[in-house]
């Protein structure tokens, strides 16, 4: 077993090696250097997402994120993308529920150019009308693809019934009818209100020097000020559903059906997150997809994949089991999954199972940092979830204290088997 004694926690990123600074305009910069790398990898966010979409305009925050790459007041679409791609760099954006996320990479010598372009894209997008129409066309293609995707339709059906009455019920991509109604004015108004440096997080790892890069970042981004930057709309009150629900979306001519069995889960700020994470690992991740994988795939051969996932965000969160099965085996797979959930909520996990997942979780810590891209993502999570800079160094101690009884109590707290939400999509047999 990987024990704390085998892991040199001081070699992990911590308060003495992670550089963090919050600047006057409200942006926060974090860096972790790796001098041998010829490249740098960055991640970041602005704290505004789909939650702030105006009524009837779902998909706006996502569409706006896509529009950021279509030109700025200084560079049109072709000039902008030529500048980025010609040095082998990338900058991409996506619109989430609570944040607009960005990520990118470049050779280290190109960082000043790329940071300058990132600022332009975030603060001075041109929103060209022709590109808005083009992106809407591309989205209409994606909506058609999604309508035929059993995986996507099962997921959308889950959100729709599970989060009924909450903004999370609507896909971040929006709906065909709402996206088609989004105008340039809508995008500009949203950008004018919410986009600014306050609450921005920028993280970077790779072959740069942390302090010099912080200076460079400040030199470039300090010009971006927005005293009247609006705050993200607050998450509405929401109570988890209290009844069982079942929905099947029929999509003809599909060889495989996708299945989701889910319930309420802890969010990323919850003090019981690590207890549930260990529980989830035993339920449907460890080895070949944990107990669920063993029951549904290994022993029954019912599915290529069958696993569980704790989806802990900043707001309401879910705990789900996923499977891809032959349409004829759908009911059998549901029965097998529910049998495993009964076991998970009725009896403590074994000492051996608990040892396995503790050992794995502690052993994974250094491996999860094998790349600079992974480190930049880790730094983003650290800041976003307001974690201590020594989070990783303290994690093994937190994990060691978790008991089988704690996992059982948490499992019973979240998995109410008379309140499961089950959705599937595929051919109806």
């Amino acid at each position: 077993m990987v024990k704390m004694d085998n892991l040199n926690t001081n070699s992990l990123p911590g308060a003495d090696t992670i550089f963090r600074k919050t600047f006057a305009n409200g942006s926060t910069f974090l860096a972790y250097p790796n001098p041998t790398s010829p490249a740098v990898f960055f991640r970041g966010l602005l704290p505004v997402g789909a939650l702030s979409n105006p009524t009837g305009k779902s998909g706006l925050a996502n569409l706006l994120a896509a529009m950021l790459s279509t030109g700025t007041l200084q560079h049109n679409f072709q000039e902008l993308n030529n500048l980025i791609e010609s040095c082998g760099a990338s900058i991409s954006f996506s619109g989430g529920s609570l944040a607009t996320l960005f990520s990118g990479q470049c050779l280290k010598e190109d960082l000043p150019l790329i940071l300058g372009l990132l600022l332009e894209m975030l603060s001075q997008p041109a929103f060209p009308q022709a590109h808005l129409e083009r992106l809407k066309q591309q989205l209409s293609v994606i909506f058609k693809m999604q309508a035929q995707s059993t995986e996507e339709m099962a997921a959308q059906a889950f959100d729709l019934i599970y989060y009924r009455g909450h903004p999370y019920a609507i896909p971040e991509l929006g709906l065909p009818e709402t996206v088609s109604s989004i105008s340039l004015d809508d995008l500009q108004d949203f950008h004018r209100s919410y986009f600014g440096p306050r609450g921005m997080i920028f993280t970077i790892s790779g072959g740069m020097d942390s302090e010099k890069t912080a200076e460079l970042f400040n030199q470039i981004f300090s010009s971006w000020e927005k005293p009247n930057q609006a705050k993200q709309i607050a998450l509405p009150e929401w109570q988890p559903h209290q009844q069982a629900m079942r929905e099947h979306i029929s999509i003809p001519e599909k060889s495989q059906s996708n299945l989701i069995v889910g319930t309420n889960g802890p969010n990323g700020l919850s003090p019981d997150l690590h207890t549930n994470s260990l529980g989830d690992n035993i339920l449907g991740r460890f080895g070949m997809m944990g107990r669920i994988g063993e029951a549904v795939r290994e022993r029954s051969g019912l599915a290529y994949y069958a696993s569980s996932s704790l989806e802990a965000g900043l707001g309401p969160s879910t705990w789900k089991v996923y499977a891809g099965v032959n349409p004829n085996n759908l009911d059998k797979a549901i029965d097998k999954i529910i049998d495993e959930l009964k076991r998970f909520t009725n009896e403590p996990v074994s000492r051996e199972e608990l040892d396995d997942v503790k050992s794995q979780t502690i052993g994974q810590i250094p491996l999860s940092l094998e790349s600079n891209a992974g480190l930049a993502s880790f730094l983003l999570g650290l800041q976003r979830y307001n974690r201590d800079l020594n989070y990783l160094r303290n994690l093994p101690g937190t994990i060691e204290k978790i008991t089988a009884q704690m996992i059982l109590e948490e499992a019973q707290n979240y998995w109410r088997l008379d309140q499961l939400v089950i959705t599937s999509a595929g051919s109806t047999k």
């Binding site: 010609s86 040095c87 591309q138 058609k144 070949m288 052993g363 094998e370």
Partner: protein, 377 residues
């Protein structure tokens, strides 16, 4: 079946032992090779080597496990069949070769998956899984001498037998231009264009890599980890997406032992028919073949290659992957000297290789049409 247990360890024992270290193991199959990999803390190297050595000769292929795994793989195939682009890709690859096994989908056809016997599988295993038919690659934190000792300890006791190879005849050219079509329920239309590409050990492969970068954007060198470069500056993107003919376009060039394929994938918009897109692509390729690429395009493609290489070595698992991959068709220097070799490619080389391979008379065009409206776009 290689994860289902050996005479020394059950599948679960091996899986659990690796998972307990925090590491992970898996396998994947290309048309040319099968790779088993483990990413583990450096102090677990001996365990990992012991399992891989054991897996090379002692797997059981229990008949009952074969039947369970058969339904699992059929289920994997069913999942893939849900995607119209998988179905189209299978059709296009099949048409791109007359006899060479590259024409077959790696996962296998449903018919073959239903008919394969335990003895078929075990015979394949016993023939090909030999130390003299394997490459072992390590990347990460270890001392070379110590690692070599561990490797010897694990693998030296395994005696190699003569491997009976089934060496296919390479197909240097797609015999003739062909259009293959498939109809389905999805509303979007899709296109795939396939041309022959040089084998990876052919010096022309490097010219083809730059050609690909300029025409459809550079392929990422990352099998593991993140990192890729966009293709908005590529000729195909500018011609097809910017002119609002298609929703997406990208290309793929794979390093293979024998001549393989370079494939361009298109997602059509509903306001332009597949035929209009084919016409536009034909015009663009004709223009591409008419003169050398510009100095600027050439230098951008080289810079992108340098960046792609830097991203590919960011991830240690990916470093190991490339050392092993390159060794199957050339040697590991193919990868470590990748950028230097690309720098030797001239614009004349690119044009020559484009004219040799992108001949419309030797291209497969695959079309997936919506059953109801595909004829009209």
């Amino acid at each position: 079946m290689q994860f289902k247990g050996t005479k020394n360890f059950s599948g679960q024992e091996m899986e659990t032992a690796i998972a307990r270290t925090g590491g992970y193991s898996n396998a994947f199959t290309s048309p040319d090779w099968t790779a088993y990999f483990q990413t583990i803390p450096s102090n677990a190297l001996e365990t990992a080597l012991r399992f891989e050595a054991d897996r090379m000769v002692n797997s059981l292929y229990d008949p009952e496990e074969v039947e369970t795994e058969r339904t699992v793989i059929l289920s994997e195939r069913e999942g893939n069949e849900n995607d119209p682009q998988f179905l189209l890709g299978e059709l296009v690859e099949n048409a791109s070769f007359e006899k060479h096994p590259y024409r077959n989908e790696v996962l296998g056809s449903t018919e073959d998956l239903l008919n394969l016997t335990r003895d078929d599988l075990y015979g394949h295993y016993r023939n090909y899984y030999q130390p003299n038919n394997a490459h072992l690659c390590l990347a990460g934190a270890f001392e070379i001498d110590e690692a070599l000792e561990l490797i010897k300890k694990a693998f030296e006791p395994i005696k190699s037998h003569e491997v009976i190879y089934s060496i296919p005849e390479p197909e240097a050219q797609i015999a003739k231009s062909q259009k293959v079509e498939i109809y389905g329920a999805e509303e979007n239309n899709y296109l795939q264009f396939s041309w022959r590409s040089p084998k990876a050990s052919d010096p022309d492969f490097f010219a083809f890599s730059l050609l690909e970068s300029i025409l459809s954007g550079p392929s990422s060198l990352n099998m593991f980890g993140s990192g890729g470069i966009g293709n908005r500056g590529s000729r195909l993107y500018r011609e097809l997406v910017e002119n609002q003919l298609v929703a997406t376009v990208n290309g793929s060039l794979t390093a293979t032992i024998d001549p393989g394929t370079y494939t361009v994938y298109v997602t059509c918009r509903d306001d332009h028919s597949p035929e209009e897109v084919i016409e536009a692509l034909d015009r663009l390729i004709a223009e591409f073949l008419s003169k050398e690429v510009s100095l600027e395009e050439h230098s951008i493609a080289l810079k992108q290659a340098r960046a792609n290489f830097a991203y590919s070595i960011d991830n240690i698992t990916n470093q190991g992957y490339w050392l092993g991959y390159a060794q199957t068709f050339a040697d590991y220097a193919w990868f470590t000297e990748y950028v230097e070799r690309l720098e030797k490619v001239s614009r004349t080389d690119i044009l020559r290789v484009a004219r040799q391979y992108l001949d419309p008379a030797h291209r497969i065009t695959g079309i997936y049409r919506n059953r109801n409206n595909g004829q009209n776009g």
